[in-house]
């Protein structure tokens, strides 16, 4: 049809539109955010399909599941750790035999550019016994997303699409194809498949297991998996996803071109592996993530094949692949760089923006805590996590979305005082409310600070699911006593006054919630510019 220059994320989004989705859902998370950003723009400016941010990845996947329940195509996108949150609907969606295509896009972050771990989503695909597709470039991101919807309907399974940071956030030219019409909306003709009572669930699980050979057969025939003959005198190379690019970057420098198996779909096609290892019994596995294929191939039983990779020490066990780590694993020298003899440079870590409201809140919190002994201050995922770094040094934990609330309660239960949880407004809505209900039920001796900057800041300023004005009602609604709930302005002029109120609540024996409100300075600036621009529109004819 035509060529477009797209990020990997955008290629997925455009392919979903062209695949005829009825709706898409997501929670922001690097490196997946730009999928929904693109869909939202297409929806608002060009009447594209429904595209919505959701409260968390679990609700997003359940929304998508509901679309598939009535026969529409739906996509849900998230970062890798988001699939932990959505694991319950994901695992069970594998059993319900959807007739509307359901594609779950998960962007992994090897190297942890913006994440707490580097878990590899391919294990989830194997765990749920579904198909997983892994593109190697932006064109495949488009083509595989289109195909994923067809496969989902053909095998009546959710299909997992695994991206990694460097694909999600790199741009290249993508050739797009004719769009397909969305499905007619109708419920399934086998309604019992959706009711996972034990008797049905056993039948559905059995059916899913019986379909596994079909999934293997798909992989054997798929053009996304390629076997290229080469020299039997050097170890063969197996690549998955973007590792192919790093191999191709270096292959011309090798004295002989090795046999090469590229894997783009899972379960791995066993006959392709067998043909490769029959030709060359020694193979180097290159994958941007865990040694997932490497472990499968090596297994535990003694074997006459030699499998090399991360666990054999040919590549580091952790971190993302680069053209250079792959080059070294292939036995090539890295090109010499310019020589310098100067000392190391100071680091420049990310930090809160100048004028960020979180900085003022941390100043107030530190003033308040100065009146007490050793406090336990748990925190959460967002821009405010940067409060762990100098000059703030204000928080002591960052584990997973919402963990701050339950952890502060646990620390209080164990006798620590003051126990303080610091969480952002969007993270609170995502996974903090349930922890707060536990704290209310136990009247935990802790103080919860909700930093309300009226946006999802770290991922670029997406809207929160409830307006700022509703947060207090939520807190009161779950039963926090009104006299223990404060809504304060996180303005630098208020720091001393806020510190006094915080000090009183820290001293209080029981649960308190303090909401500190001020809009993110980044979104405030954007809103101001947008506001200034919209004025002349009223004068247009």
């Amino acid at each position: 049809m035509s060529d477009r220059v797209l990020l990997g994320d955008e290629a997925v989004a455009l392919a979903a539109i062209h695949a005829g989705i009825t709706a898409a859902y997501a929670y922001p998370g690097t490196p997946s955010t730009e999928i929904m950003e693109f869909l939202r723009v297409e929806h608002e400016r060009r009447g594209g399909p429904r595209a919505e941010w959701c409260t968390n990845e679990k609700t997003a996947l359940e929304n998508a599941l509901g679309v598939a329940f009535v026969g529409g195509r739906a996509m849900v996108s998230m970062k890798h750790v988001g699939l932990n949150v959505a694991a319950d609907p994901f695992m069970n969606a594998a059993l319900v035999a959807p007739h509307g295509g359901l594609v779950v896009v998960v962007a992994d972050d090897p190297g942890m550019h913006s994440s707490q771990n580097e878990q590899d989503t391919r294990y989830y695909g194997d765990f749920a016994r579904v198909l997983t597709l892994e593109p190697s470039d932006q064109q495949e991101a488009y083509d595989m997303t289109r195909e994923a919807f067809d496969l989902s309907e053909r095998f009546r399974l959710p299909v997992l699409l695994r991206l990694v940071t460097r694909l999600a956030h790199a741009r290249a030219i993508v050739r797009v194809r004719e769009p397909r019409t969305p499905n007619a909306i109708r419920k399934s003709d086998s309604p019992n498949s959706w009711i996972l009572l034990p008797a049905n669930a056993r039948r559905q699980w059995r059916a899913l297991l019986e379909r596994q050979p079909e999934l293997v057969a798909y992989g054997e025939a798929s053009a996304f998996n390629t076997l290229t003959p080469g020299s039997a005198a050097v170890p063969a190379v197996i690549t998955t996803g973007i590792a192919k690019n790093y191999f191709l970057e270096n292959v011309d420098d090798l004295p002989e071109r090795p046999w090469h198996l590229h894997i783009g779909t899972y379960p791995v096609a066993p006959s392709l592996v067998a043909r490769l290892l029959e030709a060359v019994p020694r193979a180097l596995v290159l994958e941007d993530g865990y040694p997932f294929v490497e472990r499968q191939l090596r297994g535990l039983a003694p074997s006459r094949y030699e499998i090399l990779g991360r666990e054999s020490g040919h590549l580091a066990l952790d971190g993302e692949l680069t053209p250079d780590t792959v080059r070294q694993a292939l036995g090539l020298e890295v090109a010499p760089a310019v020589t310098v003899h100067d000392g190391p440079l100071p680091n420049r870590p990310p930090q809160l923006c100048a004028g960020c409201p979180h900085g003022d809140t941390y100043a107030a919190l530190k003033q308040a805590l100065a009146h007490f002994g050793d406090a336990a201050v748990t925190s959460d995922i967002g821009c405010y996590t940067l409060g762990a770094l100098p000059p703030y040094g204000a928080i002591e934990s960052c584990v997973c979305m919402g963990a701050s609330v339950g952890m502060a309660k646990g620390a209080a239960d164990a006798g620590y005082h003051p126990a303080v949880a610091v969480i952002g407004d969007s993270t609170f809505l995502h996974s903090g409310i349930t922890g707060l209900i536990d704290a209310v039920a136990a009247n935990a001796n802790m103080t919860l600070l909700i930093l309300d900057n009226e946006t999802v800041g770290m991922t670029g300023g997406q809207p929160t699911m409830l307006p700022s004005s509703r947060l207090k009602d939520v807190v009161l609604g779950v039963g926090v006593p009104p006299e223990r709930v404060h809504v304060l302005s996180a303005h630098p002029r208020q720091t001393a006054a806020n510190a006094e109120i915080l000090r009183g609540e820290l001293a209080h024996d029981g649960l308190s919630v303090v909401i500190l409100v001020r809009e993110c300075i980044e979104t405030a600036r954007t809103h101001k510019q947008a506001g200034a621009k919209t004025i002349p529109v009223t004068a247009a004819p």
Partner: protein, 191 residues
């Protein structure tokens, strides 16, 4: 032909705009382009790095291999020194001399600029001064594109067209400012 570029700066300095202008001009000239960006946490006032690869044949890796970059183009002098392992011995460093001192242990500026000057091929431009003279300090990154145009395998006219396209929505004055900034940078890199 292969021309690999490392773009460096501090989050918020417009590194992605620089990358976008150069990439667009390269595509207009029929070159293959791969452009790797930085999103998320690292954008928050920290060191940022983007990879941009141009070539007359298809490019496999989104990332520039070490020792292969023909150019490090930096919005900030300290950051121009951070990724030298990527720079080919024949490669050039082009940087603005204006520091972003958002860290407490920023070295004395003279020391930083000396380190840049000691590199085999270094070009230093006063991006802020030239941008202000062109009409706005916000055009600093187009001064850097102008300075880079002296070594890029691209026509200056193609870069100018892409700058004009990029700022067209913001009005003729913004376009003129950014084009003037580009030309000032180009002139400065020559002298």
């Amino acid at each position: 032909m292969r021309f690999d570029i490392i773009l460096a700066g501090v989050g918020g300095q417009g590194v992605l705009s620089v990358s976008a202008v150069i990439a667009a001009a390269a595509m207009q000239q029929g070159l293959h382009v791969k452009q790797s960006e930085v999103h998320g946490m690292s954008q928050r006032g920290g060191a940022v790095l983007a990879h941009l690869r141009l070539g007359d044949r298809p490019i496999a890796s989104d990332l520039v291999p070490r020792g292969r970059a023909s150019l490090i183009l930096s919005m900030e002098p300290l950051e121009s020194l951070r990724y030298l392992e990527f720079l080919s011995p024949e490669g050039t460093v082009i940087t603005s001399v204006n520091p972003v001192k958002n860290i407490t242990d920023y070295p004395p500026l003279d020391e930083v600029l000396d380190r840049v000057r000691r590199l085999p091929h270094a070009v230093l431009v006063d991006g802020e001064k030239l941008a202000k003279a062109a009409g706005s300090h916000r055009a600093t990154n187009m001064v850097l594109v102008g300075a880079a145009s002296e070594v890029l395998p691209l026509e200056a006219s193609a870069l100018e067209r892409c700058i004009a396209d990029r700022f067209a929505a913001k009005g003729a004055k913004t376009v003129d400012t950014n084009l003037a900034a580009f030309r000032a940078g180009r002139e400065a890199a020559r002298s």
